[in-house]
């Protein structure tokens, strides 16, 4: 472990709120992750959080949902605080004679619970995982789609002010259940938001997950997702289709840690679009623990102005994970000289019968296509815009739900403005 470094006043404040575990030890010796942390070297969180931030007050803004989902239950977190679902009476959750939270049966087969506490801080966390562990200390909000049910859920995270807050959401999709889960980050002002979603997909379940983060030029956002995909049962596999649309922040990190426990299929796609001095970091860490795991990942991004896009993708194929099929591709478009893309695809493979492929490119708009379109009369800006939409379209095409796809396309198209 590296020698202790002088902590910032903000780090001291955070540390005072953390129980004495590995997490505290990590924070004490290294501070928040940043430039000097291998997995955060292109996303200097420590540098972005130099000033002390007080816990956020009540959310006081109005926001219009960037995306809607027909027939969905809408749940809201305001500055990290879960809002009681409308028109449902809570039931107390009692543990050893004490009330520890409230639970709401929102609909048949959809249960939402708010706990007063988070979970005890975990041991054995590694450097770089501090933010996820910090968020896990927050009061837990749990969402359960019970076995066999089908539900659509929109989880809006609304944030404002200049303080700090976070959330700790646990979603289970029960055996044979189907869930569409849209998670938004709608941030105004300049808060530091530390979100966490833990998602457990039980056998035979199917989940379409969309993460939509609109632009927030002065905010700092870390969203850690921890996903577990159960193994196949009765010949039916778990299927996850995840798509992240990220439009940038002062610093934004969308991190996905996914484990294939056995035969299961995942798409871990993302699309980012950045201008000015916005930043977005798409990091994923996919572990193949059992046999026959399939991940197909397509990430594309566009960086204009002086923005920075970061992609870090890792596949870890463990010894027993035979017949793993893993594809990773990241392609970026640089629209200006000042824009930057940093990409690190990584494969770590301990099984011998696996198929792993990865590709990574970064380049400018095709000058040949651009000239051709202009020769046909399309003004330069419009030609560029058509080519940019076409570039992002390859990712959006993979979204099956047409209504969602169209909303994502519109957000992507307008992303730069």
């Amino acid at each position: 472990m590296s020698s202790p470094i002088p902590l910032t006043a903000f780090e001291d404040r955070l540390l005072a709120e953390v129980p004495d575990t590995d997490l505290a030890e990590l924070l004490r010796s290294r501070g928040l992750p940043g430039r000097r942390t291998e997995t955060w070297k292109w996303s200097d969180l420590r540098g972005a959080l130099r000033d002390v931030r007080e816990p956020s007050g009540a959310y006081a803004s109005k926001a219009e949902a960037p995306i809607t989902l027909e027939g969905a239950t809408v749940l809201t977190l305001k500055n990290g605080v879960p809002q009681a679902p409308h028109g449902v009476e809570p039931k107390p959750i009692v543990k050893s004679g004490e009330k520890v939270g409230s639970t709401y049966v929102v609909e048949d087969g959809l249960v939402v619970s708010f706990y007063d506490q988070g979970r005890d801080a975990e041991d054995e966390i590694g450097a770089g995982e501090e933010l996820s562990a910090l968020a896990a200390l927050r009061p837990l909000m749990s969402i359960s789609v019970l076995p066999g049910f089908t539900h659509k859920i929109v989880l809006r995270r609304l944030s404002d002010g200049e303080g700090r807050h976070g959330d700790n959401v646990f979603v289970t999709v029960g055996e044979g259940a189907r869930a569409t889960l849209v998670e938004t980050h709608e941030i105004t002002g300049s808060p530091f938001v530390n979100s966490r979603t833990e998602l457990e997909l039980d056998a035979k379940s199917v989940c379409d997950r969309f993460i939509v983060q609109t632009a927030a030029s002065e905010a700092v956002l870390v969203h850690s997702s921890v996903l577990r995909l159960d193994e196949a049962k009765d010949g039916e596999t778990v299927k996850l289709n995840q798509m992240t649309l990220a439009l940038g922040a002062q610093l934004a990190r969308h991190e996905t840690r996914l484990t294939h426990l056995g035969e299961s299929e995942a798409k871990i796609d993302a699309l980012y679009r950045l201008s000015d001095s916005l930043h977005t970091d798409i990091t994923s860490h996919i572990t193949f623990e059992g046999e026959d795991g399939v991940t197909d990942q397509l990430v594309k991004g566009i960086a204009d102005g002086r923005s920075r896009g970061v992609f870090q993708g890792k596949f870890l194929v463990q010894r027993g994970a035979q017949r793993t099929d893993a594809k990773m591709a990241h392609h970026a478009l640089l629209l200006s000289k000042g824009a930057q893309i940093n990409a690190k695809p990584e494969l770590e493979i301990y099984a011998d019968d696996v198929e792993c492929a990865h590709g990574n490119t970064a380049g400018a708009l095709d000058p040949e296509a651009l000239f051709y379109m202009r020769q046909r009369g399309v003004p330069e800006d419009e030609a560029r815009s058509l080519l940019i939409d076409a570039f992002g379209g390859e990712v959006l095409e993979r979204v099956k739900d047409e209504a969602v796809r169209e909303q994502l396309a519109a957000l992507f198209h307008g992303g730069a403005s």
Partner: protein, 249 residues
């Protein structure tokens, strides 16, 4: 109509066009023939205004108005159309959407009314039929998965669709079979008229059997070294460019 005066274009340190003069009056079809690498495509890119093909000397005017300060899209709106020697594929860009955007952008730039989707669809389908492109192909992204011949058909579809004032055809005939050549002839001859001019770049006299040129020019050493009537094509085919190339020196 199109007047080119003392045109000099340098690419990668080499003078590719060197004081080229050419004049194509309205209503005429002129052919340019010349050996590989003589600068025929360079001339067409320069007229169309491609980045990097800015002339160091000379001028190009269309109906007396200089094109040099205009971007490629402005030149297109003025009626300059280039049928590319090797048209690119544009993955992810829907063909109809692109072409309707292009047509309406031209119209808007000229202060004309935009064409409705329904009207566009109607004319588009007619031209598609003329050039022999199937509706299935046209559903694909632009030129995506098209053969060389199909790309040339797409060029002719667009030439018919845009009804340009001045058409440059850069080796449209190369790689085409007889049926396709006949189709090219049909499109050109249907567009031929007193207000329109053509510059047809070709290696072969076969296209000129379908498209009768008024004049033929030989490009060598960066300029037009010889001009003549339609009979020049046969002569070139029989004895090559050698005799004229030496005139350039």
């Amino acid at each position: 109509m199109l007047n080119i005066n003392n045109l000099t274009v340098t690419l990668g340190g080499n003078k590719i066009l060197n004081g080229l003069d050419l004049s194509v009056p309205a209503g005429e079809v002129h052919a340019i023939m010349g050996p590989n690498g003589s600068g025929k495509s360079t001339l067409s890119y320069t007229i169309a205004g491609r980045d990097g093909y800015e002339p160091s000397e000379g001028d190009i005017t269309l109906d007396g108005e200089s094109l040099l300060e205009m971007g490629p899209d402005e030149r297109a709106a003025k009626g300059v159309f280039l049928s590319f020697q090797s048209p690119p594929a544009i993955p992810g860009v829907a063909t109809m959407n692109f072409l309707r955007t292009a047509l309406n952008a031209q119209r808007k730039a000229r202060g004309e009314e935009e064409m409705s989707s329904a009207e566009f669809l109607k004319v588009f389908r007619e031209h598609a039929k003329t050039v022999g492109l199937s509706p299935e192909k046209l559903k694909r992204p632009f030129n995506d998965g098209y053969s060389g011949g199909e790309k040339k058909r797409m060029e002719m579809l667009q030439m018919a669709l845009f009804e340009p004032r001045f058409c440059i055809m850069d080796e449209t005939d190369s790689g085409l079979d007889i049926d396709a050549l006949r189709m090219v002839g049909e499109v050109v001859n249907s567009l031929r008229g007193p207000d329109r001019g053509f510059l047809v770049i070709t290696h072969y006299q076969r296209l000129l059997d379908y498209v009768k040129p008024d004049r033929i020019h030989v490009l060598a050493g960066g300029r037009i070294v010889h001009s003549g009537g339609p009979e020049l094509a046969k002569e070139l085919e029989e004895s090559g460019y050698e005799q004229f190339a030496s005139e350039a020196a």
